[in-house]
């Protein structure tokens, strides 16, 4: 009920913004997801982040001028067990005490076919940065724009899982990150 009401309010807000026309795009955090899948001895282990934000300026008619800055509070990570959640914010993994935020900052956006974009940018986790290319699919539903996609990163490039956990036969190096960002204030594609 609260969820429906929240969604309704968000929609009204979005409509209001669309009418105003000049509002900056904003993230509807409650409907957005940033999740990941890592593999432990071949077993896919799914997790997600509860707390993240986005600063977006984007006009589908002029994508190359757009900009995305996504910030994730790494301590908000969710994993199947309490043990794993406690472990993964610790110094050997995300080291949330010293590196509370992971960020993605776009540097260039290129339009591919209709609704598809390639976003180049810098992914920073645990104080280590990597240049990445992120395929993004934009979809309009009413006043909301959904930006979704996935990318594969190598955890060891960010020193995630140190010491005895560097063994990739135990925890695979590749981690798939998936995102679904629900945005208001973006002109229909």
């Amino acid at each position: 009920m609260a969820r429906t009401l929240g969604a309704g309010l968000a929609l009204l807000l979005a409509l209001g913004q669309a009418q105003a026309g000049s509002e900056a795009p904003a993230l509807v955090a409650g409907q957005s997801e940033i999740s990941f899948v890592s593999r432990q001895m071949g077993v896919p282990v799914a997790g997600n982040f509860r707390s993240f934000d986005a600063q977006v300026s984007f006009d589908p008619a002029n994508p190359q001028k757009g900009h995305f800055l996504i910030g994730v509070d790494v301590a908000s990570v969710q994993l199947p067990t309490d043990d794993a959640m406690k472990e993964v914010v610790g110094p050997g993994w995300f080291d949330a005490a010293h590196f509370a935020r992971a960020t993605f900052q776009s540097s260039a956006i290129r339009a591919l076919e209709r609704g598809r974009f390639e976003v180049a940018g810098r992914l920073s986790i645990k104080g280590r940065a990597q240049d990445v290319l992120v395929p993004v699919f934009l979809e309009q539903t009413g006043a909301l724009t959904v930006a979704s996609g996935s990318l594969v990163v190598r955890r060891l490039a960010f020193s995630i899982g140190e010491g005895e956990w560097t063994d990739t036969s135990m925890v695979a190096d590749e981690v798939q990150i998936r995102f679904r960002l629900v945005l208001t204030g973006i002109a229909p594609i």
Binding site: Q40, M41, G42, V43, V45, P80, T81, D83, A84, M170
Partner: protein, 191 residues
């Protein structure tokens, strides 16, 4: 060795399965006991996965074993055994078989409910037949443990009965399941 009803031995396949599964069950039980309270570490993850692989292997081999038992009836109980003794043995074997299936299946469900799909030998992903559900997982781990202890008790009973046959009743029942054929050849020489 003919697997006929007159034979006083189990078939070679039945004997091999019996001892292989005995080893796998004892090892899985001990690993299960040891790993349950370990702190999160690569060792813990490794043991949990090995335990799950062993459990699924036990399940698969037990299905095959039950089929084999159905197709190749075990030798008849010695005439010296009373009706009560025979019935008791029959029920213990029945309980053992039920647990060979139940313990791994509940363990598998526990893994799925905890959010960890079972991937047999790290290669073959098995379906999750229960949803990810933490309260359910907490119940299933208790059920898995209780059933495993019941299985351990049934195995202890089975071993005690076998030893009683061998050392108290001296009815040479143990030789039916022995991987050694020494006794048979000795018997044949004596005849």
């Amino acid at each position: 060795m003919t697997p006929s009803e007159q034979s006083n031995r189990y078939t070679d396949v039945a004997i091999a399965l019996h001892w292989l599964l005995a080893l796998a069950l004892v090892a899985s039980f001990c690993v299960g006991l040891y790993m349950a309270d370990l702190k999160l570490s690569p060792t813990r993850v490794r043991l949990f996965n090995w335990h799950k692989w062993a459990g699924i292997s036990i399940l698969v081999l037990s299905v095959f074993r039950l089929g084999w038992r159905w197709a190749h009836r075990p030798p008849k109980a010695p005439a010296s055994m009373s009706a009560v003794q025979t019935r008791f043995a029959h029920w213990t074997h029945g309980l053992l078989y039920v647990l060979f299936f139940l313990v791994p299946i509940v363990g598998w469900a526990y893994s799925s409910a905890s959010g960890f799909q079972v991937v047999w030998f790290g290669l073959i992903p098995l379906p999750d037949f229960v949803p990810v559900d933490k309260p359910l997982a907490r119940v299933l781990v208790q059920v898995h443990a209780a059933l495993a202890y019941t299985l351990a008790a049934a195995v202890a009973l089975h071993v005690a009965a076998a030893l009683k046959h061998h050392f108290v009743e001296r009815d040479s029942l143990l030789w039916r399941m022995s991987p050694l054929r020494l006794h048979d050849s000795m018997q044949q020489k004596g005849q």
